[in-house]
Symmetry: C2
C-alpha cells in the first residue's frame, strides 16, 4: 500500500495518444497477449527477432485504431483482439522488410533488427509474421476482413516498390509522393480502421467513414514523419535523422523544394539524392534549402489539410468519447514537434 | 499447312512431367492467364521482376499438382485456376526471398533476380506476390483454402528460419533436416494438393490422401534436389552446383556423411561449412567424402522411402488417368539423374 492516493491518469498533461492507450488499456492487454502468443514458434530466432522489434517501444497505433474503431459501436466482441494483433504483425513485417531494403541502422532509438540479426533473418521472420497475420484472420473467419487486409498488403508492397523505383528521381511530383504515402502508410491505417465497423456488424456508411478517416490520417502521419526526418532532433524522433536524405527518398519536403529550385540547388539534389555522392555538411545544406523554400511549413500545411479530411470523415460515426479521442489523434498527429 | 501429319505428343519418350503438362494443357492455359493478369501492377518493376522469375522456365509443378488434384474428381470447376496461380505466387515469393537470403547467383540457368534487380526490389516484389496470392484466395472465398495456404505459408517461413539457424551447425541431425524439408518444401506441395479435393467438394479422407501424397512427394523432391546439388552437372540442374556447400547448408548428404565422419573429415566440414573458409578443390573433396560414405546413395534411398509413402497415400483416390500420372511423377522424382 505504498500509493494510496487515487491516480487520475487521464490528466490534461497526457498526450491524446496516451489518453487513447489509457481508455483502451483493458482491450490492449488482450491484444498484447495475442501478439505474444502468436509470435511464438519452435525456432527461438522467430520470437527473438519479432520481440526485438515489437517490444522496442512502438506505439501500437494501428491496433489501437482497430480497437477504437470497434469500440465506438455498442459491441463487446473479442474478435478485435486477434485482428488488431494481425494488423500489428503486418506492420511489423513491413518494418522488418523496410529496414532490410533501406539498410537503416536505427529505428525507435535502437539498432535495427537487420543490423543485429542479419538481413536474412529479418526477411524470413517478416515473412513468418505476415503469414501469421493471415492465420489470425482465418481464425476469425471473416472473408470481408481478409479482403480488406489482403488488399491493403498488396497496396503496401506496390507502394514500397514505387518508392524504390522513384528514389533519386528528381522529376517525381507531389502526386507521386502522395501515391506512395497512400500506399505504403495510409492503406494499413485505413484497413485497421475499416475492420472495426466490419467486426461490429455496421453498414457500409460506417465502414467507409472509418476507412476515410484512417486513410487521411495515414497520409497526414506520413507527411509529418517525412517533415520530422529533416527537422526533428534524433532524441525526439527515435530514429536516425536524415535517413530519407541518406536513402535518396523523394519525400515531400524535397519534392516541394524542387518545384522552386535554383540551378545550383537542383545540382545539389542531383548529386546527393540521385548520385548519392554525399559529403559532410550536405544534410545541413539540404535543411537550409528546405528552410529557404518553406518546404517544411508547406508540407505541414498539406498534412493539416489531410487531417481536416480525416476529421470530416468521422461525421457519420456515433458520438462517443472514443470518437472524440480519434479526433484528438488527428490534432496530435498534425502538431507533432518540428 | 506445313505440317499435316497428326502428332502424338504423349509419346513414350515424354517424361511423366511432360505428360502431366500435356494432359492439363487446357487448364494450364487458364492458370497462365491468371498468373500473367495478376502479376500486373501500376509499377513496371513488379511485372518485370515477377515475370523474370515466372517466365524463366520453372516447371510450374505446384500449380500442376493443384490442377491434377482437382481434376481427378468429376468436376469442371474453374476455381482451380486462380488458386493454382496463388500457389505459384507463394512459391515465386519464397524463391525471390530465398535468393536474397542465400545470396545465390543463379537459378534455372539464369542470374537470380536479386543480382539483376537488387535485393531491395526482390524482397518487395516477393511481398507483393505473396499479398496477391491471398487476394486470389479471397476472390475464391473459401476460408478452408485460406486456412490451408496461410498455414503452409507460416510453416514455410518457419522452416526457412530453422534452416538459417542450423546453417553450419555440425550437430544437426537427420530429424532436423527432415523437419526443414517438411516445412520449406513439403508444406506447399501438401497444400497445393490438398486444395484440389477441397475445391472439388470431397470429404476429409480425399483431402488427407492428397495432402499426404503432396507431403511425401515434397520431402522426396527436396532430398533429390539436395543430392543433385552435390552430384549433378550444372547444365542439367539449371542452377549453380555446390550452392548448398557454399552456403554451409546442413543438407541431407552432409548430415549423413557426418554420422560416420573421420576426425579429419569433421575438421574439413567445420572449416568449410561452419567457418565458411573455403579453398579451391574443397567442393571436390566434399564430393569425395560423400562418395566414400555412400551419402548420396543413402539419401536417394530415403527419397525412395518417402516416394513409396506418396504412392501409398493415393490408395483412397479415384482410379483415373491423372491419378496414374501423379504416381508417375513420384517415380520420375526419385529417379532424377544424379
Amino acid at each position: 500500500m505504498q500509493n494510496v492516493q487515487p491516480q487520475d491518469k487521464s490528466t490534461s498533461s497526457a498526450s491524446p495518444l496516451e489518453k487513447l492507450v489509457e481508455a483502451l488499456s483493458g482491450d490492449m492487454q488482450h491484444v498484447n497477449q495475442a501478439i505474444l502468443k502468436n509470435m511464438q514458434a519452435d525456432i527461438d530466432m522467430i520470437p527473438q527477432i519479432a520481440g526485438y522489434l515489437i517490444a522496442s517501444g512502438g506505439k501500437r497505433l494501428r491496433p489501437l485504431l482497430t480497437l477504437a474503431a470497434t469500440r465506438i459501436y455498442d459491441t463487446q466482441t473479442p474478435r478485435c483482439y486477434g485482428l488488431a494483433a494481425a494488423v500489428e504483425f503486418i506492420h511489423t513485417a513491413t518494418l522488418l522488410h523496410d529496414d532490410v531494403v533501406d539498410e537503416s541502422s536505427e529505428r525507435r532509438g535502437k539498432k535495427t533488427a537487420n543490423l543485429v540479426f542479419g538481413n536474412q533473418a529479418s526477411v524470413l521472420v517478416g515473412d513468418f509474421l505476415f503469414s501469421r497475420a493471415f492465420q489470425l484472420m482465418v481464425a476469425d473467419g471473416s472473408v470481408d476482413v481478409l479482403r480488406i487486409l489482403s488488399d491493403a498488403s498488396a497496396i503496401i508492397s506496390a507502394g514500397e516498390v514505387k518508392q524504390l523505383a522513384i528514389t533519386g528521381d528528381l522529376s517525381s511530383t507531389v502526386d507521386d509522393y502522395i501515391d506512395v504515402a497512400q500506399s505504403k502508410t495510409a492503406a494499413l491505417f485505413a484497413a485497421a480502421c475499416e475492420i472495426g465497423p466490419v467486426i461490429a456488424d455496421q453498414d457500409a456508411e460506417q465502414a467507409n467513414a472509418l476507412r476515410d478517416y484512417g486513410h487521411n490520417l495515414g497520409i497526414a502521419f506520413q507527411i509529418v514523419d517525412d517533415v520530422l526526418d529533416y527537422s526533428a532532433t534524433q532524441e525526439k524522433l527515435g530514429k536516425t535523422i536524415g535517413d530519407d536524405f541518406a536513402e535518396g527518398k523523394m519525400s515531400l519536403p524535397v519534392v516541394l523544394a524542387l518545384e522552386s529550385a535554383t540551378e545550383n540547388e537542383r545540382t545539389f539534389w542531383a548529386r546527393t539524392l540521385t548520385e548519392k555522392d554525399r559529403q559532410d555538411g550536405d544534410l545541413q545544406t539540404a535543411q537550409d534549402i528546405l528552410h529557404r523554400t518553406k518546404s517544411l511549413e508547406r508540407g505541414m500545411d498539406m498534412a493539416q489539410r489531410y487531417g481536416r479530411k480525416a476529421l470530416e470523415a468521422l461525421a457519420p460515426c456515433p458520438d462517443t468519447a472514443l470518437t472524440n479521442m480519434l479526433r484528438d489523434i488527428v490534432e496530435f498527429t498534425i502538431s507533432r514537434d518540428f
